[in-house]
C-alpha cells in the first residue's frame, strides 16, 4: 500500500515535471511572437535603432531562440531563474516578496473560506429551500455576478472611504516589515478573495451535503439514534468535503494566478500585477518565472488535494484488506 502511494506520487511528479517543461516551452515560444522587446522598452521612444540593436546583443536577445531557452532552462536547475532586465535585478530577488505577499493573502483567505464554506454549506443543505438558504444563495449569486473590480471597490467604499473608515483602502506593504505584522492592510484584499471563494465553495459543499444526506448510511445513522451533531459533523461532512477539497485546490491555484484585478484596486504588491507588467514590458524572465510558479502551484495544490482526498476516502472494495 505504502509502496503504491509512493509510486503514485512519483508518477505524478514525473508527469508534472514534463508538464512544467511544456508550459515553459510554450510560453517561451509565445512570447517570441509578441511585437516589441525588452530592449526597446528600456530605451524608450527616443532611442535610435542602433542603440536598440546594441542593447539587444548585450542582453543575448539575438541568440537563437532554442539556445536562449535552454540557457534559461539550464539556469533553473542551479536555482537561477534569470534576470529581470526591467528591474535590473535577478528575478528571484525581484519577485520574492511579491510571491510571499500573494501566497500569504490567498492562504489567509482560504483558511477562512474553507471552514466557513463548510459550515455555510452544511447549514444551507440542512435548511434547503428555506429562507436562509435562499438568502445565502441570492447573496452568493450577486457577489458572483459582480465583476471582481466592482466588488472590491464597493468594499473600499464601505470600509475605507465613504461609509466607514475602519480599514486602510490600500494594501501598502512596507517591504522592510514582515507581511504578517501588517495585517490590517491585508484585510480588504483577503475579504474580497474570501467572498469570491466562499460563494463558490459553499455551493459545492451544499450540493455535496445534500447528496450525502440522502444516502442510506445517513438514514441508518439516524436510525441508530445518533445525535444530529454527530450525524452532520462525523458522518456527513467528511464525505461531503471531498469534492470541495478538489475545488478548493483549483480555487487556490486560480487565486494565486488570477488576482490581478484585486491587486490593482488595492495596490497590492503581488505577482498578478507583476505578471501583467512583465508581459507589457516584455520582461521575459519574469513572465517565465511567474507562469511557472502559477503552474507549479496548480500542480502541487492538486496533488495535495488528491492526497488529502485519499486520506479522507476509505479504500475502495477489494483495495487493501
Amino acid at each position: 500500500m505504502k509502496n503504491g502511494k509512493m509510486a503514485w506520487l512519483a508518477r505524478r511528479m514525473a508527469i508534472s515535471a514534463v508538464l512544467l517543461v511544456l508550459v515553459s516551452a510554450l510560453i517561451f515560444a509565445a512570447t517570441q511572437a509578441l511585437p516589441g522587446d525588452v530592449a526597446a522598452m528600456i530605451l524608450g521612444t527616443d532611442a535610435t535603432p542602433d542603440q536598440v540593436a546594441a542593447l539587444r546583443t548585450q542582453m543575448h536577445l539575438n541568440d537563437p531562440i532554442i539556445a536562449q531557452y535552454f540557457s534559461w532552462l539550464g539556469g533553473i536547475f542551479v536555482g537561477n531563474f534569470g534576470y529581470s532586465h526591467i528591474a535590473g535585478l535577478p528575478v528571484a530577488s525581484f519577485i520574492g516578496t511579491r510571491v510571499k505577499n500573494t501566497f500569504v493573502v490567498v492562504t489567509i483567505s482560504m483558511l477562512f473560506a474553507l471552514p466557513f464554506s463548510m459550515l455555510l454549506g452544511l447549514i444551507t443543505a440542512l435548511y434547503k429551500d428555506r429562507w436562509f438558504d435562499r438568502f445565502v444563495l441570492a447573496f452568493s449569486l450577486s457577489v458572483n455576478a459582480l465583476p471582481e473590480f466592482v466588488l472590491a471597490v464597493l468594499l473600499v467604499i464601505l470600509f475605507s472611504t465613504n461609509v466607514l473608515h475602519i480599514l486602510p483602502a490600500l494594501s501598502i506593504l512596507s517591504p522592510g516589515l514582515a507581511i504578517t505584522s501588517q495585517l490590517p492592510s491585508l484585510v480588504l484584499p483577503c475579504l474580497t478573495l474570501f467572498l469570491l471563494q466562499i460563494t463558490y465553495l459553499y455551493r459545492l459543499i451544499r450540493s455535496a451535503v445534500i447528496d450525502v444526506l440522502s444516502t442510506e448510511y445517513i438514514q441508518f445513522a439516524e436510525l441508530k439514534g445518533l445525535s444530529l451533531r454527530r450525524i452532520l459533523f462525523r458522518h456527513a461532512l467528511p464525505n461531503a468535503a471531498v469534492p470541495a477539497l478538489q475545488a478548493a485546490a483549483t480555487v487556490f491555484a486560480v487565486c494565486v494566478g488570477g488576482v490581478v484585478v484585486i491587486e490593482y484596486v488595492f495596490a497590492f504588491p503581488g505577482i498578478g500585477t507583476a505578471l501583467t507588467d512583465a508581459v507589457g514590458n516584455r520582461d521575459l524572465a519574469v513572465v517565465q518565472f511567474i507562469v511557472l510558479l502559477i503552474a507549479t502551484t496548480f500542480i502541487v495544490s492538486n496533488i495535495v488535494a488528491d492526497m488529502v482526498t485519499a486520506l479522507l476516502t476509505p479504500p475502495g472494495r477489494g483495495e487493501g484488506q
Partner: protein
C-alpha cells in the same frame, strides 16, 4: 502658504504612478513619473526650473558666455558634499556629461546636449569648467535644468545612488516603495521633511482612495474627472499645475495621406478644440493653436489667430486633395490622461467631415517597437518651446513623429538657439510658431494641466509648469 515658515520633521508619503523599473539612475531611465520623482530627490542639476518656468542656479554658481555664445564658463558652488562626504567638483561634471553622452549606453538626456563634446570640456580648476561648443548656444544654462541632466559624482553606482541631492537613499523595493531620508548636509539647507516614502500605485482609483483614506499625503495622479471629489473634501486639496504638457496629434508629413498639407490642415479644421479640452481634460487645460509652447515667456504671446472648427472648409480641402471620405488608422497609447480620449473625440468629430478614424489603442511595447514610424497618432511632450522644437520638430530628432523637415523652420531654430539676445530670440520663436501653425505636422489641440492631490497638512506645494512640484520635494513640509 509661502509666507509660513516651514516646520521641520515628519514623513511624507506620496503615491506615484506605478512603474516596474528598478532604476534609480537619473540618466538610464524609462522616465516614468515614479522614476523621476525618485532621482530628482537624490540628485541636483547645474540649474533647475522654477515654478514660473524660468531657470534657477543649483550646483552652478554662475554661467558666463563669450560673445557669440560658443564658449561657456561654469563656476560650481564650493563646499557641496555628496552623501558620502566627498566634495562635488568639476571632474564630476565632466564624468556626468560623458556618462550621458556615452554612445554605448544610451540615455534619455543625450539628445538634449548633443551639441556638447565632452572632450571639449576644459577643467580650469576644481570648481570651474569651460564648455567649448561647435555652434553658438544662447540658452546654455537653461538646458541644464532638464530633469534628465542631473549631476552625479564619479563612479556613480545606481544600486547605491550617492549624489548631492536633498535626500539620501534608504531603501528601494522595485515597483513597490522607495524610502529616502533628509540629507542633513545639504548645501542649500536641510530639507524640512525627515523622510520621504514613495509608494507605487498603478491604479488611479487606488491612489485617490489612498489619499482619501489617509494612507498617503500626496497623490501624484488625480484624473481630471475626479478633481471635484477631492475639492469637495475639506481635508483635501488639488494642486492645479499649468503644465507645459501638450498632447500633439501627429501626422506624418512624408507619406500618404498627410504629406499633402491640405489634408493636415483639414484635420486641424476638423478638431473642435474647445470640446476636446472640455471633455478629454475636463476643462483642465488650455486650447492649442497647432503650435508648441503653452507659454513662451518672457516673449509675447502669439498673434496668430486661433484656429477654429470649420467642417466645410475641411471638406473642401479634402476634396481638393482628392481625399474625401478619408479612412485612416490612428495609433494611441495610454501615456498620460487625455491622450486616448482626444483621439476618440477627434474620431467622433471627424465623422461630420466624412473622415473615418479608426483609433487603435496600443500597449507600450508594440507602440515603441515601431516608434516613431506611425503614420497618425498621438504623443505627449512636456517642456519649454525650444527644447521641444529641438527634440521633436527637427529632422532626425528623436520625437519627430511627424517626420517634419521644413528648411525655413530648421534655420530659424538654429538662429534661436544661437541667439543671445532675448528680443531677437522672441522674434524668431514667433516666426517658428507661425510656420508650425501654417504647415506643421502636429495638430496641437490643447495643453493639459497636471493635477496633484494633497492633504491639508502638506505645505510648500506650488504649481509648476515645466516640471512637477514633486520633482522638488525639498520644498515640501508637513504642518
Amino acid at each position: 502658504a509661502q509666507s509660513e515658515t516651514p516646520k521641520q520633521g515628519g514623513t511624507l508619503r506620496v503615491a506615484v504612478p506605478g512603474s516596474a523599473t528598478g532604476s534609480l539612475d537619473p540618466h538610464r531611465t524609462q522616465g516614468f513619473v515614479a522614476d523621476i520623482v525618485r532621482f530628482t530627490s537624490l540628485t541636483d542639476g547645474l540649474t533647475e526650473y522654477l515654478p514660473d518656468s524660468t531657470v534657477g542656479l543649483v550646483l552652478a554658481e554662475s554661467f558666463t558666455a563669450n560673445s557669440d555664445a560658443t564658449e561657456w564658463t561654469v563656476k560650481l558652488h564650493k563646499g557641496v558634499k555628496t552623501h558620502d562626504g566627498n566634495e562635488f567638483v568639476a571632474d564630476d561634471v565632466i564624468y556626468t556629461v560623458e556618462r550621458i553622452l556615452d554612445p554605448k549606453n544610451p540615455t534619455k538626456g543625450s539628445s538634449l546636449i548633443g551639441f556638447v563634446d565632452p572632450k571639449a570640456i576644459e577643467k580650469v580648476d576644481d570648481h570651474t569648467l569651460v564648455f567649448k561648443l561647435k555652434k553658438p548656444y544662447g540658452l546654455f544654462p537653461n538646458v541644464w535644468a532638464n530633469r534628465y541632466l542631473r549631476m552625479v559624482p564619479r563612479n556613480f553606482d545606481p544600486a547605491k545612488p550617492i549624489a548631492t541631492g536633498p535626500f539620501k537613499f534608504v531603501s528601494f523595493a522595485v515597483g513597490q516603495e522607495s524610502v529616502f531620508e533628509a540629507n542633513e548636509q545639504y548645501f542649500r539647507g536641510r530639507p524640512p521633511l525627515d523622510k520621504v516614502v514613495l509608494i507605487n500605485v498603478g491604479e488611479e482609483v487606488a491612489s485617490i482612495n489612498a489619499l482619501r483614506g489617509g494612507q498617503v499625503d500626496i497623490s501624484y495622479t488625480i484624473p481630471y474627472t475626479q478633481a471635484k471629489v477631492i475639492e469637495a473634501d475639506p481635508g483635501l486639496h488639488i494642486l492645479n499645475n499649468p503644465s507645459t504638457m501638450s498632447i500633439p496629434i501627429y501626422m506624418r508629413t512624408d507619406i500618404e495621406p498627410f504629406n499633402d498639407v491640405r489634408v493636415r490642415k483639414a484635420m486641424m479644421l476638423i478638431a473642435d478644440r474647445e470640446q476636446m479640452v472640455k471633455v478629454a481634460l475636463s476643462g483642465y487645460g488650455l486650447v492649442g493653436n497647432d503650435m508648441n509652447g503653452r507659454t513662451v515667456t518672457p516673449c509675447a504671446t502669439s498673434a496668430v489667430p486661433q484656429r477654429k472648427q470649420d467642417i466645410e472648409e475641411a471638406k473642401r480641402l479634402l476634396a481638393e486633395a482628392g481625399k474625401s471620405g478619408l479612412k485612416v488608422d490612428m495609433i494611441a497609447y495610454r501615456g498620460t490622461a487625455g491622450m486616448v480620449e482626444c483621439c476618440q473625440i477627434l474620431a467622433e468629430q471627424a465623422k461630420k467631415a466624412g473622415v473615418t478614424i479608426n483609433v487603435k489603442i496600443l500597449e507600450m511595447a508594440p507602440f515603441i517597437a515601431n516608434y516613431p514610424q506611425w503614420t497618425f497618432g498621438v504623443d505627449f511632450l512636456s517642456d519649454l518651446y525650444l527644447p521641444v522644437a529641438t527634440r521633436s520638430l527637427l529632422p532626425g530628432s528623436p520625437f519627430n513623429t511627424a517626420h517634419w523637415d521644413d528648411k525655413e523652420f530648421n534655420a530659424l531654430q538654429e538662429k534661436a538657439m544661437a541667439s543671445t539676445d532675448e528680443g531677437e530670440r522672441c522674434d524668431t520663436i514667433a516666426k517658428m510658431r507661425a510656420i508650425e501653425n501654417e504647415r506643421g505636422g502636429n495638430l496641437i489641440w490643447g495643453f493639459a494641466n497636471v493635477l496633484n492631490g494633497y492633504r491639508d497638512n502638506v505645505k510648500g506645494l506650488v504649481p509648476y509648469s515645466v516640471d512637477s512640484p514633486l520633482y522638488y520635494v525639498r520644498n515640501i513640509w508637513l504642518a
